[in-house]
């Protein structure tokens, strides 16, 4: 069966003062119906840019699709009109942004904002939209929805605002929900509620989820498959459990082992954390014909600095873009 979303050799270029840089550099991946995948990587690796490209929301005048295709149900979104993209954004692909306060309009009540989406995209009347808005608030577990529907965003806690954002994103029963760091600003107890909610909604509606995060724990909780990004490129992809058990790219391995993960039975023992030296390269260094991780990689050889490593399939389901993936 055709996957719901198929991204083929996508290249996104950003115009910067220093010139044009490929912020997404030859990215391909698929998302199946009802599937949940995660993008991970350090800050500035192009995770949000990938999401914005799918949404047709690249920064205007700065970013553009240079080549490649984004096939959604067979239709190429990179060739779609603005009007068609607006239509898809409202109805079929929704996004939850990182900062819930800035993405809600402060001068309208949350009820008005949800109802507005329902009227515009579902064609509901005033009354029906209002009733449905209250039902959605209930679905995202806002206590006392009949009363809270009249609240303004500032009257809600961060977690409640994020739940309102999810309600808005779900208002049109999207086929794909993109969540860009949906819980970064929230307490872990609230994060657990949001994850629980997303899992339930996915089970009920069959919505596919793309979650962007820097937290491996969150990936393990939420996704079946993960894609690791580094400097605009996919460096590893595979089933979450397999990648965590045996990463086949040195960067993924570093990302997992440098974090002090919480463990079930804590002992006196405490080892030094593994360090990945250095930092992510700036946009100006993207796109070179070499492994962009080579400056930080413990396994680097001459070859790594002289050509971009191709994506290699390992063990049937894992992909790694490393010259020495077999040895990792």
């Amino acid at each position: 069966m055709e996957p719901l979303l198929k991204v083929e050799n996508l290249r996104i270029e950003l115009k910067t003062r220093a010139g044009v840089a490929p912020v997404i550099d030859d990215l391909s991946f698929e998302l199946g119906q009802g599937e949940s995948i995660s993008f991970v990587g350090e800050s500035g690796c192009g995770k949000s840019m990938t999401a914005l490209a799918i949404m047709g929301l690249l920064p205007e005048g700065i970013g553009r699709v240079a080549s490649g295709r984004i096939l959604f149900g067979g239709e190429d979104l990179t060739a779609a009109s603005d009007r068609r993209l607006r239509d898809i954004r409202g109805n079929e692909i929704s996004m939850i942004f990182q900062e819930p306060m800035t993405s809600l309009n402060p001068v309208y009540t949350v009820g008005e904002q949800i109802a507005e989406v329902l009227r515009a995209h579902q064609g509901l009347g005033q009354r029906a939209a209002w009733t449905m808005a209250a039902e959605l608030l209930d679905a995202v577990r806002i206590p006392n929805p009949g009363r809270r529907i009249d609240d303004y965003p500032f009257q809600m806690s961060g977690g409640q605002r994020q739940r309102v954002m999810i309600a808005i994103a779900l208002a049109c029963k999207p086929k794909i929900l993109i969540a860009d760091e949906p819980t970064t600003a929230l307490d872990v107890t609230v994060q657990a509620q949001i994850f629980d909610l997303l899992r339930d909604l996915r089970a009920q509606t069959g919505t596919s989820i793309i979650m962007i995060t820097h937290d491996m724990g969150a990936v393990a909780e939420m996704a079946e498959r993960m894609i690791v990004m580094y400097a605009g490129r996919k460096v590893e992809e595979g089933p979450v459990a397999d990648v965590i058990a045996h990463a086949r790219h040195p960067y993924t391995h570093g990302l997992i082992s440098c974090v002090p993960h919480i463990v079930a039975n804590l002992t006196e023992e405490r080892e030094e954390l593994t360090e990945v030296p250095g930092i992510v390269p700036g946009l100006g260094e993207f796109g070179q014909d070499m492994c962009l991780f080579s400056a930080r990689c413990p396994r680097v050889t001459e070859k790594c600095r002289s050509a971009r490593p191709p994506e290699a399939m390992l063990g049937g389901s894992q992909v790694s873009a490393c010259w020495h993936a077999e040895e990792v």
Binding site: Q160, V188, D196, N265, E268, P277
Partner: protein, 340 residues
């Protein structure tokens, strides 16, 4: 076991808040830290964890007398009460208690060179000759892993992790005994975070530093701490040593908090049933009369509404503020877990 270096007794901080609708001339107060007491042993790390707004930063900064609010209580450092300090005492106290802030971007003066930033506490708080200060700065640059030629650069010429290193060097300059680390790695990428956490631990053993370490990342806390204080709405609800707290949490809030951490460890994900605590914390201006966790507590009893639970170990070292915890140290959440 190390002797106690820091002894905080009955610390409270309240902020005057103007509230619409309150009468003319009336001030209401938000009590951000409400009568908390704890001790920290020399050379160890006390972690403070808890919900956003529970008072972690306020409590820690109150120790260094860096909060705007009205502070009361006693802070005893090495046997000396450092709270009612006069100007000279304040200078001496500042030398001994330093702070590393969360945001490596806004906490450094953008118009100063790295070496000036690191030297600043020496200029303000000591009367050391210029040469000695120069030597100290050189040593600190090396200790935190910055290169000598970077001394002349401005903050914007450094990466986030390097800026945090400058902040650490600055905090170390007066040879403090206590360093308050308020979310020192939260703004950093995981790879850089590991570098800074390793550095903090190395410096701790090298200089015998005592840390108060605030973080919302429980994996980081587990790695860094020797003991943990859990705060909820201005109160400490649990305080125990590292192993006791993580392996046998007593307070229902602590249990919920630990169970909520997403984990790559499948055993942790499968075996620990998640305890979801619905709702939000209460309004800090309108706190319940009894236990502050009562509105979200899965095992709350009727009397929890009226009766404030005291922080006590019932004769053990494991301190908890919950009516259902006694000297047996069987978590009240055990019953909930088994029932499911």
């Amino acid at each position: 076991m190390m002797p106690e270096l820091l002894d905080v007794r009955n610390l409270s901080v309240r902020f005057p808040v103007g509230r619409k609708g309150t009468g003319w001339g009336q001030t209401s107060y938000l009590t951000a830290v409400d009568d908390i007491s704890f001790t920290v042993r020399k050379g160890e790390t006390l972690a403070i964890v808890g919900e956003s707004g529970s008072g972690k930063t306020t409590a820690a900064l109150a120790i260094a007398q860096l909060v705007a609010g009205e502070t009361s209580g006693e802070v005893v450092l090495d046997g000396q009460d450092i709270m009612p300090a006069g100007r000279d005492q304040l200078r001496a106290m500042r030398r001994k208690v330093q702070v590393i802030f969360q945001d490596p971007y806004s906490s450094l003066n953008p118009r100063k060179r790295a070496e000036e930033i690191v030297r600043e506490p020496l200029d303000n708080l000591t009367n050391k000759p210029a040469r000695e200060k120069r030597e100290i700065v050189d040593r600190l640059f090396q200790a935190v892993g910055l290169r000598p030629e970077q001394k002349r650069l401005f903050p914007h010429q450094f990466s986030g992790g390097q800026r945090q290193r400058i902040g650490i060097a600055r905090a170390l300059s007066t040879q403090p005994e206590v360093i308050i680390c308020d979310e020192p790695v939260s703004a950093l990428d995981v790879a850089v975070q590991a570098q800074i956490l390793n550095l903090l631990r190395r410096l701790q053993s090298e200089f015998g530093l005592t840390y108060i370490f605030i973080s919302h990342d429980l994996g980081v806390v587990q790695h860094m701490c020797d003991s943990v204080a859990v705060m909820y709405m201005g109160k400490i609800v649990e305080h125990a040593d590292r192993l006791a707290l993580f392996n046998n949490p007593q307070h229902p809030y602590t249990a919920a908090l630990l169970s909520a951490v997403p984990s790559i460890d499948p055993t942790l994900r499968d075996h620990s049933k998640r305890i979801l605590i619905p709702g939000d914390p209460p309004d800090p201006l309108n706190l319940p009369a009894g236990c502050r966790f009562v509105s979200r507590c899965p095992v709350a009893q009727l009397h929890c509404r009226e009766l404030v639970p005291e922080l006590t170990g019932n004769g053990t070292e494991h301190l908890t503020a919950c009516h259902l915890v006694d000297a047996d140290l069987v978590s009240p959440m055990q019953a909930v877990r088994e029932a499911e």
